[in-house]
Symmetry: C2
Subunit: 208 residues, 2 copies
């Protein structure tokens, strides 16, 4: 075994390990914070409580984020990125527009039943800083446009009925976004059934 | 002309006039406040600005409402009452369930493009006091139940396709509520066209 092959003996670990640990710690902050935000709202959430749950103190959290607003926006952003990924993936698949749109709707709906999806709907426009709000709107618009072009493709290939892709998209995303407001993760109906129910109602109106 | 028929000569006006004036002043506070809440959010709205717009000072406003929370909830309540009225009216009409549901959806949608409707969607659960939140949820639930029984009647009379009235209702109200979030009263598309577009997309999926 040459010197280069031996595991790094530094008690600080390798640079790569340390970067990974930093990333995991940042993740843990977001995962804990988002539950608090969803359960009691942004204003009533105390970063002291979030820190205590992670066995650290508030200054440790502020090593990763500048302030509470930045934590909130990082949570919202995580949710938007998941939605965006769902939309972009389906737009790359092959098949009739309606079929691909149905894929996005199911993934989008499921995200809205989970913590990082719920926080998107539960965060008011005015709870974000001006800068975050601008980024939020740009990301949201991107997702809407990806979905709208899927709807348009479905109208063009004859799989979706209707003519106004913009209004159809707003109707779909509205119904799906609202899941994040009324769906109760502790309730009796499983997330999958909720999403299937909403998506089926929407699809019934789109099938040509 | 007998004494009783003569107009009341008191410079304070009659008791009835005074009650009417009080009511109109309370209304004016709500109509001004709701525009401020919708434009910049609850936290950033200053009751000093609302008062200034009405040519009075803040203490005058607090003659009608105990605090800013009470003003917000009065605005939300006004919107909910309008929705409730729309739902109850249509449930009393005669005709197939789908037709009556379509009437509610159009009225509900139009309310969501107006100030007192927009504030419902724009107000987060946690922006209300515990007491107001409980009332809010009770009113919201009542509206949902009225709509759900309309949907159920439509399923029973064969005018609405589908089986799960609860999920259909959540899909409809979700898409309609979301109008309050994305609709721009200063935008190019008239409210009526927005509502017709969303309602048509939803109805297409409900027609048996």
């Amino acid at each position: 075994m040459s010197a280069q092959d031996r595991p790094n003996p530094s008690p600080w670990g390798s640079l790569k390990d340390r970067a990974n640990i930093q990333k995991r710690k940042r993740e843990a902050v977001l995962e804990t914070a988002v539950r608090h935000f969803n359960a009691r709202g942004f204003v009533a959430t105390s970063m002291d409580d979030v820190a205590a749950e992670l066995n650290v103190t508030k200054p440790t959290i502020y090593h990763y984020f500048r302030n509470k607003d930045e934590v909130l926006f990082a949570c919202v952003r995580r949710g938007l990125e998941a939605l965006s990924e769902a939309a972009v993936e389906a737009s790359r698949e092959r098949g009739p527009g309606l079929w691909r749109l149905a894929q996005v709707m199911r993934r989008y709906g499921m995200i809205m039943t989970q913590d990082f999806g719920r926080i998107i709907t539960r965060t008011g426009d005015f709870e974000l800083s001006d800068e975050s709000r601008a980024t939020f709107r740009a990301l949201k618009r991107e997702i809407d446009l990806t979905m709208r072009s899927l709807v348009q493709e479905g109208i063009d290939d004859g799989s979706i009925k209707g003519t106004d892709a913009r209004m159809i998209t707003f109707t779909i995303t509205g119904a799906l976004n609202w899941i994040g407001r009324w769906y109760d993760p502790d309730g009796a109906v499983p997330a999958r059934d909720v999403v299937d129910g909403v998506v089926a109602t929407l699809l019934a109106g789109l099938e040509a």
